[in-house]
């Protein structure tokens, strides 16, 4: 199977962002606002799952949109979906940050939870479970993490996710299967550790 790249013709449904991008290229602020409300949370979530850091995730989202503002006038409709391109920019920004990152171990200080809030215990348990999942994901190789984030957390189609990662669908499926196996292994190891304490 051939590799999907940005040069591929997108033969799916019409790209819903094309008109917005053209308006953005003409300096239309309402269009920029619409694009932000459509895609900002997706970019932040993807970066968060890839980097495991809320602040860096926001920085990546800002980088992505800055690139959008600078490149909107060069966008050629009919190639890959604009959203797919945005995901690719976000993934590359995450790769750059992961390359630069030095491991810094700090004590994890959980957010304060109001003791009087109804269901506070449940919130704490949910937060701890979420943290365990995030820790397990962060132990996966970055490409497996990206694939899981796009397909399972962002619910992107396999073809769009493959385009965003610039790989074939088969390669994407391999990353997904290995990612799921790795996640199960890390979560099981974590559960064993917790039981042994």
């Amino acid at each position: 199977m051939r590799k999907h790249t940005g040069q591929d013709k997108h033969r799916g449904d019409k790209d819903p962002d094309t008109a917005l991008v053209q308006r953005i290229a003409n300096g239309d602020q309402a269009a920029a606002s619409e694009l932000v409300s459509r895609h900002l949370s997706k970019m932040v979530s993807l970066a968060r799952h890839m980097l495991g850091d809320a602040v860096e995730a926001e920085d990546v989202a800002q980088e992505v949109f800055m690139k959008v503002w600078q490149s909107a006038h060069k966008w050629q409709p009919g190639k890959a979906k604009f959203e797919t391109w945005m995901h690719r920019v976000a993934i590359n920004a995450c790769y750059d940050r992961l390359r630069r990152r030095r491991e810094i171990y700090t004590d994890q200080i959980p957010d304060r939870v109001d003791e009087d809030t109804p269901g506070a215990d449940q919130m704490i348990i949910e937060a701890e479970l979420g943290q365990q999942v995030e820790d397990a994901m962060m132990r996966l190789p970055v490409r497996q993490r990206a694939a899981l984030s796009l397909c399972h957390l962002r619910e992107m189609s396999n073809k769009d996710a493959a385009r965003a990662l610039e790989i074939s669908v088969e390669a994407l499926e391999s990353l997904l299967a290995r990612g799921r196996r790795g996640l199960r292994k890390h979560l099981a190891a974590h559960a064993t550790t917790m039981l042994e304490r």
């Binding site: 953005i24 300096g27 602020q29 920029a32 606002s33 932000v36 409300s37 900002l40 949370s41 932040v44 979530s45 968060r48 799952h49 809320a54 995730a57 926001e58 989202a61 800002q62 949109f65 800055m66 503002w69 600078q70 949910e126 937060a127 479970l129 979420g130 943290q131 999942v133 995030e134 397990a136 994901m137 899981l148 397909c151 399972h152 957390l153 619910e155 189609s157 396999n158 499926e173 997904l176 299967a177 799921r180 196996r181 996640l183 199960r184 979560l187």
Partner: protein, 160 residues
Amino acid sequence: MPLTMTKKQFLHFCQTYGSALQRWPEDVRASAHEFMQTHPDLARPMLEAEKDVDSALAKAPRQEVRPALSAQILQSFRAETQSQTVNTAPPRHGSLFNLLWPQNHGLPAWGMALALILVFGFVGGYTGYAYTLNRTSATDVLSTAFGNDGDSLFGEENTT
């Protein structure tokens, strides 16, 4: 994909996309449904085995977007648009006059013209006055003009 999915294929999609069929590729869902109906005893355990990972992924933290972040990003759009406008705007006037006296900096063009007339008039008038004096050397004239009457600006030339 043909409507006859094998056990091996079903397992592959289970282990790749998880237990929720809506996440499977659209073009295999019909055959997957058919496999589940014809082989429920095979399909059910395979789907059940993937539910732990699906459940874990559903608990992955979702990050809320701060309104301030949206505002910052839109601010960056305004800044970028303005900078592109400035960079692509044609130069208003390419003349030496505009280089010396850019517009929109406080004084109108007629003010500039009046100031230039005054300056050149003063310099020309004073120079003419200086040449009418009984001087033998241009150096003396210049020395006087610069307020150094009797002192040398150019070394030995003035001492002769």
